[in-house]
Every structure is written in C-alpha cells, then in structure tokens.
Amino acid sequence: MISEKEKRTKRLIQSDRKGFNTLFNRIFEAFLPLLAVPVALIFGAIMLAALGANPLEAYRSLFVGAFGGLSSITQTLVIATPLLLVGLGVVIAFRGGVINIGGEGQLIIGALAATAVALSLPTLPGWILIPLCLLSGFIGGSVWGGIPGVLKAKLKVNEILSTVMMNAIAIQLSNFLLRGPMIDPAEIEAGTRIAQSALLPHQVWLERLIPRTLLHAGAILALVMAVLVYIFLWRTTIGYRIRAVGLNPNASKYAGIRVPFYQALSLVLGGAFAGLAGAVEVLGVQHRMLEGLSGGYGFSGIVAALFGNLHPLGAIPASIFFGGLLVGGDQMQRTVQVPSALIDTLLGLIVLLVVGSKIWSLRRARRRETNE
C-alpha cells in the first residue's frame, strides 16, 4: 500500500514534470521551423556548387544584399511589409481551418481599389484620402476573398481551387483595366501604352520613414496590424470561434458555432489583409498601379505565415527573413551570376521541410497522450 503522502508527492513530481514538458514542447515547436533553414541552405549550397558558383561567396553576397547596410536593410523591410500583411491574412484563414491561396488576386484587387479611389478623389486632403484608400484596399481584398468564402459556406466549393481561379481572374481584370479604362493618359499621348495607371496625387503617398530610402509608413502599419490580429484571434470572441472552427469543426458545430459562417469570415478577413497589402504597395512604393505589382507576394506571404508558425507575431520576424532572402537573392544574381530563381526553389523547399517536420511535434503530442 502506498501512503497518502507518497501519492501526493508522486503527483506533485508528475505535474512538475508535465509543466516542464509543456514549456519544452512549446519552445521545441516554435523553433522547429527554423531547422528547415540550414537544411535548405545546404541543399542550396549543393545546387550553387553544381552551377559552378562558390556557395560561401554566394551566401555572403546574399546576406550583404539583405542586411549589409542601411539601404539594403530598408529595402528588406520594404519587401517584408507586403509579406507580413499577406501573411496575416493567411494566418487568419489557416487558423479558421481554410487554406487561402488567393493572396495574389486579393492583393491586386486591393491595389486596384486603392488606386481608383485615389485617382477619382484627387482634391481631398491626405489625412482623409489615405485612410480612405487603405480602407478601399481592405474592402476590395475582402470581396475577392469573400467570393470563395461564400462559395465554400453555401455550396461547399473547395476554397483552394476557387482562390486559385480568382487569382487568374484578378490578373486578367487588372490587365484589362490598366490597358483600357485606367491607363495613364500620358501613356496614350506618348504612344508607349505601358499598362499602368496615372501617378497618384502626392498627398496620398505614404510618409518616408528614413530620408533617401524607400522605407515608408506602411511598415509601421503592418506591425500594428500584426498586434491587432493577435489581439483579435486570442482576445475576442469572434477570434476564439475562428480558432475553434479551425481546430475542430465537428466539436465547434456541437458547441453551437456556425462553422460555415466562420470559415467564410476567415476567408473574407484573409482577403482583406492581402488587399491592404496591395493598397500599401501602391501608396507606399509604386505610387501608381501597374502590371506585375504583386511580384509573387501572394505566394511568398504563405511561406512567411507558415514559417512564423501561423502566429501573427511570429509572422513578423518570418517576413523580415523572407524579405531579406528575396532582396539578397537579387544581389546574389548580380554578383555571382546565379539566377534568383534559386531563391524560389529554396522557398519551396523550406515549405516542404516545415510542413514535413510537423510530424515530430505530432509524435511528441501523441506520446504525451499515451503517457497520461
């Protein structure tokens, strides 16, 4: 017979060990994605060597290009801004259990909406026009994300496929508008007919944070949004329900949560943030809408969100890291003559490694369950 006291001590030790285990597991899970980077870099080094470049020299130029001085750091942050905003949308959608691959199209529609508003109300002062443009980008993106959302909620259309189709439609719509109704009148006059809109009025341009660099106020907006999304998902009822639906739709249904509604909502919000990214890109960087504005951010944003462990705050360092990778990749292309497509390859590889490594945390969780 074990005495009552012994039992209590045993329980105490067990609970203590459990506490340590949860802490350890949390750290383990947060840093697991980071392991994908060295593996991908080693793979990249092999490819670089195969292409006849010195891997060390290539990586050095990549790092210098990304973080080696004021202009490269600010350039990295400029790229990180849309990545973070798109990533936030991806985080919300994923937390709600839906996969939003439509970032590209939502970003384009957001950028178009912001451009249209800025060009049609050119006399408004900046302090009204800027919020108005950002809001219209937000709404434009949410409409583009909302269509797949409603289709999923009402007709059970797979959102992965519908968002991909919506990307293609958005690109064509943008090409049509930029070659027709929205084309810069100056382009018609000059006869060059480059597919871009007129330059936006100056008062709507986002403030430069550091003179003589491209870093603009949109970066701060993105950071604020990351915190807001965190608060929204973890401190509000709606956010709680979105996460509940994502974790276990069946249990949520029995708990009385309208699952289709919250799935659609997470797609709407996911689209909204991608749309905001488009608006910020127009107001902060290009100051006009043009073809190819999205630059693949819709897809790299997914990578950033995933790498940040699908956490709004984790997406901040992740998007800076990937921003650096993209900027540094261009530098690498110039100095060691390796196509920057190498970076895309590594991005894909990192995604595969990150999702593939999830099994280790899954196994740990299962072992924990069986131990208890």
């Binding site: 991909v164 897809f299 196509p339 390859t345 894909g348 595969l352």
Partner: protein
C-alpha cells in the same frame, strides 16, 4: 457574330479543343488516382513545369522526342515520390505541401531553364498521325483522328483508368484506401504502399502532361509556361466527381471554351482579350459550384493516415 460560327470555324474550335484537353487529361487523371486513394496532391503545377522542362531539354539535346517523354515521366515519378514521402510518411498538411512542391518546381524549372538555355527555343515536336480510314470521314475525321500520339494517349488513358479503378483488385484497394483506410489496414492491406503508388503514378502523369505541352502542343519551353494549368487539373478532378469519364467531360468543356476564347481573339471580335482569357476560369468556378452539390468526395481525402487511430 455570324462569322464566328461558320462550319470550318466550328470544326477548328473542336479540333483545337481536343488538342488543348491533352495536358489537362494526363494531369487530372493522375490526380484523380491520387485523390481516390485519399491524397490531395496540389503540387501538380510544379511537377508539370519540371516535366515540361525536362521533356523539352532532353528532346532538344538528343533529338529524340520519346526520350523527352521518358525523362518527363521519370522526373514526374521522382517528384511524386517526394510528395508521397511528405504527405504519407511525414503526414504533412497536404494543401500546403502541394504549394511548397509547386514553388519548388516553379523555381527549379526557371533556374534550370536560365542556366541551360537562357532563351526560348522551339523544336519540332510530335507530328499529327492521320489514322487511315477513320481520318477520311468527312468533317469529323480530321477533328478526331488527325492528332499527334500524345493526344491519342491522353484519350486512351480515360478508359484505361476507368478499368483500373473499377475492375481490378488494385483499383478496389485504391478506392477503399480513400474511403476507409482503417478498414483497409485491418484487412492487412498496406495503405501506405497503395498511396505511394498512386501519388507516384500521378506524378508521372503530371510530368507527361508537362511534356505534352512542351514537345507535342506548343513545342517550346518558357518560364512558368503552365500558368495555373496544374491547379485547373485539380479542379477538374472535383468537377468530374473522381471518375475518369467525368474528368474527361470537364477537360473537354474547359478546353472548348478556351479554344473558343482563342478564336474570339483571332477573329478580332470586339471583346477585350483580357476579358476573354478570364472566361475559362469563371466557368471553372461556376462549374465547381454546381458540381460540388451532387458528388461525394473520398471520405478520407486530405486526411493523413496513422495506423491504430480511428
């Protein structure tokens, strides 16, 4: 509009519609196989790009088109195997791993293209083979029986896949693995091996789909030349209700609209080309919305399988 619908134009649209359906058929039937066994492979786009590149490169270097097809099939197998390791053995989220594979294929094919070719070259691809007698039937003969070998192959694949899925033991195992993997496992059949086979075969077909573009239809390779075709192939599987014949009808519908759209551009009908290009995508969404209500997807689709868990 009347000039659009003369007989030769209609026959022309039908002819190019059948041609255009080829890559979708290869990719979508491969994908249907994988999905029937319970695995959503969203990496088709990336595999197609790698298939298109390797098929073109090998055909250009050796001058042998069949070696190109073989190379594309082999590369497709390897990438399919990679997807199988990640989604079956490592039980990763299938939607995201597919996106990863697509990014990987897109990046790697662009990288290799820039390193080995640099500029867009074209080759003389597979030539049309006129089938004797059948090809001489007025009107229809030319539309149906004057295509290159990869086009015929894609259409032969449909009855073959139907037969394999419905009439063979292997097909039964595949379908069971997608409906109830636990039950399959309890009967002593290895779910993991079945899924490995279907994903690898699906990858091989996606590779051939890419090659059909680069050495049988367009006869050149350029970066991101599939431009979303892989995703449309996945959509066609849903549209077709996981049946090869359904996939065929979806692929034909999509390709006919695409061919019509191309004719509209050629004929300079006052519809902006950007809007015309949109039509097939809008149609796909509408068709998906209509199709999803009546069909039931494999019960275990996109759910990783773990032994001993129900």
């Amino acid at each position: 509009m009347s000039e659009l619908f003369t007989l030769p134009v209609l026959l022309g649209i039908l002819y190019s519609g059948i041609r255009l359906a080829t890559p979708y058929l290869y990719a979508a039937i491969g994908e249907a196989l994988a999905q029937t066994s319970g695995v959503l492979n969203l990496g088709v786009e990336g595999i197609m790009l790698m298939g298109a590149y390797s098929g073109f490169y090998v055909a250009m270097k050796t001058g042998n088109l069949w070696l190109g097809v073989l190379a594309a099939a082999a590369v497709g197998c390897i990438l399919g195997l990679l997807m199988a390791v990640i989604s079956v053995t490592l039980q990763a989220e299938q939607g995201i791993s597919g996106i990863g594979l697509t990014l990987f294929g897109l990046g790697l094919s662009s990288l290799l293209f820039k390193e080995t070719m640099g500029t867009v070259n074209s080759i003389s691809g597979f030539q049309p083979i006129r089938i004797p007698l059948l090809g001489d039937i007025p009107y229809i003969g030319n539309v149906l029986f004057n295509h290159n070998i990869l086009v015929y192959g894609a259409f032969i694949l449909v009855p073959v896949a139907t037969w394999v899925l419905n009439k063979t033991t292997f097909g039964l195992k595949v379908r069971a693995a997608g409906q109830n993997p636990q039950a399959v496992d309890s009967l002593g059949i290895n779910v993991v091996i079945i899924r490995y086979i279907t994903i690898t075969l699906g990858g091989m077909l996606a590779g051939i789909a890419g090659a059909s573009l680069s050495i049988a239809l367009i006869n050149l390779f350029q970066e991101n030349m599939t431009n979303g075709m892989g995703f449309i192939a996945v959509a066609l599987v849903y549209f077709g209700g996981w049946r090869p014949v359904g996939v065929l009808s979806g692929a034909l519908l999509f390709s006919f609209v695409n061919a019509l759209q191309l004719w509209i551009q050629v004929k300079r009908i006052p519809l902006p080309s950007d809007i015309a290009v949109m039509l097939p995508y809008i149609l796909t969404i509408i068709v998906l919305a209509l199709a999803m209500r009546r069909t039931q997807q494999p019960a275990a689709l996109a759910k990783p399988f773990t032994r001993g868990e129900s």
